[in-house]
Amino acid sequence: MILTVLRILYLRLRNNPLELVLVFVMPVIFFSIFAAIFSNGISSGSDKKLRVGWVTTPSTRLATELREFLDSNSSLECSSLPALDPAESTAAAGLDGEAVSAQISRAQQSGKYDLIVKLPAKFPETLSNTVANSACTVSLVSDGQNPMAVAMVTSIINGFFTQKQAAFVGQQMMQLQEGRRDISRGTPRARVPGMESQSDRQPPASDGPVVAAMPEPSAVFTEIGEGPDFLPIQDDFTPFSGNVSLADPETVESHATATLRTNSQTEGAFRVIVETPQADTQENPRIAMYAAGIAVLFLLFSATGHAASLLDEAESGTLDRILVSQAGLFQILCGKWLGIFIMGCLQITIMFLWAEAVFHIHLGKHFAGFCIMTTSTAAATASFAMCLATICKSRSQLNAVSVVLILSMSAVGGSMIPRFVMSDRMKEIGKWSFNAWALDGYQKVFWFQSQPSSLRKEVTVLLGSALVLGLVTFLLSGRWKRG
């Protein structure tokens, strides 16, 4: 008897290819998707590099060397940000100008950069200048999506300055030795081209004994060589120390700055500042992304569930009865679509209202953008669900197809895994899903705090999809009449 029951199970499975797909093929598909995201399988066979953008062309020797240093790092992919428009260039009096901020903002929104390096207008020519002049400040502008990038690039820049300072100290030591030899010989100290020291900036009266202006070797070692400045990363600030939290970009900023600032001697040499403009004015923007991701995933499922009522009605004959009534096919489809659309809008709104109440995502501040994205997303998912229901011949078929499609779309589209951890290729593939466009839109609204006008592309794609799928639904819906 047990064998007979087992045989029934086997026969039913064998006679239902879709169930077979769900049971055996789906796990493989999902494994492949996740493997592709987290491995090199889809990302063109090479390790994913951190994409570092330069906000301006290096104008000084030190800046050029820093750029070359970063360029030569195999884990980084450096490129300059797209040039400013002439009008913007005029407006940009300095690098801290609004035009530059706009340029950075645009670059961040493009999603092509993990981090942007911004150097001040008066970046020193050499590292030695920084001792007497203002600090050599390197600003890293992050959108907060990839805290690992911040930690890594900070570490690399620290390494650069460490090398430069080590070279500087070495030269100073050489000069000291030469100076002492010169003193003993009674000749002035030889100058090393390109290498300045504090003594070079002494007043003209320095014609006197050079040794008087030179720091004692012990002072140099104490002041520079043995100082914590030379440690690329503090013990408590490593990319893997746990202080760099993936979920809290502000921590990265404050911690990086604080760590570097706590050392008074660093201020005389160099400083790395991490800026996260998006985190300055909002409390929990990342939560909005999670809310959107989960909302879109469930929206797709619930929309498909509602659209499946068409198949139920067709199977029970209710659809025939309605078609014979005063309501035409177009009205039926419109009514169903509208119902799914309204349900979708409500579903997303409830999700965001909860996020606002509990996590303070500033829904009111971004209300216009939220409305635009929510209606666009709900429209697209409603058409998608209606189209699926029209194509599928039975509810069980729809269930199987929708599970495969929706989970795949959600996996590559960013509802399950943040899109910033994906390779570029994977991100491109993700663009074939509603999730990716919806999440990009919500990201612009809540994370980048963009104006609703910046959502043109996302809205066009989502509404365009809604229109095309709606049209396909209508064209294929003739089958309801044909029976």
Binding site: S316, G317, T318, D320, R321, V324, S325, Q326, K481
Partner: protein, 312 residues
């Protein structure tokens, strides 16, 4: 439920040489028939005969490849043909199981274009008509099979259709519910509605339908009243079988004997012929030990017309 239509000699629905090829099969091969107001027409045929295709064509769900289907307006006012109200009762329970009885009636009434004010009154009437007044707030899925069937029909009559198409409306219901359903249908016909009913229940067609249409292979193979069909197919309505203990030594006119002549069968036009035959047999001392009289019905007509081979 009052209705302006009354039984007249003018058909309310006419099908003229309707053809339909469906899924590479000739589902309808030139169907012509008429349906009259106040008539209950039984559409009868084996599976795959084309009954459902015909109903779908009449209801407008399918467009015939050729031929015409005309709904005639009987109203004295100039009502367009397309305004002849039509209702469909699908074979399955075409109601929303997760809505209450009242909610089902409301939504289907609205879909039929009945205004809210009128609908309220119609629902009240229909609930009484379908004997569902005490269950108006029950979810449809909690009703018994018979109640669900009655609700299924009730949802189709809220707009008072002049033509009602019923596709096996009594499948799976107990005799009491079936009786109630036919009472409901009779009420409709008495009010002038024309009903086209498909069913496999022979007794229903025999006893309830005014006229019967037998379909096979997409064709109407016979139509008329039961008596007409019997006459048309098997000739006489009664079959008399006489059994003898010993082989009969006599030849009896019109009787067919088997071998070894212990059984004889005769088709009779009227049962009044039987006493005459029995008197003759008594006279010749050949009295039968057993007499079997069977009135021929639709089953015989049907098998005569469509054969005994299985379909589909």
């Amino acid at each position: 439920m009052t209705e302006e239509n009354t039984a007249t000699g003018t058909p309310i629905l006419t099908l003229d040489n309707v053809r339909k090829t469906y899924r590479k099969r000739d589902a309808l091969q030139g169907i012509s028939l008429q349906l009259f107001p106040g008539e209950l027409l039984g559409l009868f045929g084996p599976n795959g005969a084309g009954k459902t295709t015909m109903i779908r064509c009449i209801s407008g769900l399918l467009k015939p490849d050729s031929g015409t289907i005309t709904r005639h307006s009987l109203s004295t006012s100039s009502v367009a043909e397309s305004n002849v109200r039509l209702g469909l009762v699908p074979q399955n329970l075409a109601i929303y199981p997760d809505l209450t009885v009242l909610q089902n009636l409301e939504v289907f009434g609205r879909l039929e274009g009945v205004t809210r004010r009128v609908l309220k009154e119609r629902i009240k009437e229909v609930l009484e008509w379908a004997a569902l007044s005490d269950r108006i707030h029950s979810l449809a899925r909690t009703l018994s099979g018979g109640m669900q069937r009655r609700l299924n029909i009730a949802c189709s009559v809220l707009h008072r259709p002049q033509i009602l198409l019923l596709d096996e409306p009594t499948v799976g219901v107990d005799p009491q519910s079936r009786e109630r359903i036919y009472s409901m249908l009779e009420e409709l016909t008495s009010q002038g509605s024309a009903l086209l009913l498909t069913t496999h229940q022979l007794d229903e067609v025999e006893t309830r339908c005014d006229r019967i249409v037998v379909m096979d292979h997409g064709l109407i193979v016979a139509q008329g009243t039961l008596a007409e069909l019997v006459q048309l197919t098997v000739g006489c309505p009664h079959r008399v079988t006489l059994r003898f203990d010993l082989p009969c030594k006599w030849r009896l006119p019109r009787f067919a004997f088997d071998q070894p002549r212990t059984s004889a069968t005769c088709m009779m036009q009227s049962m009044q012929e039987l006493p005459v035959v029995l008197a003759v047999l008594q006279k010749i001392d050949q009295q039968p030990s057993h007499i079997d009289v069977r009135s021929l019905g639709l089953q015989d007509v049907f098998l005569e017309l469509t054969g005994r081979s299985l379909r589909e």
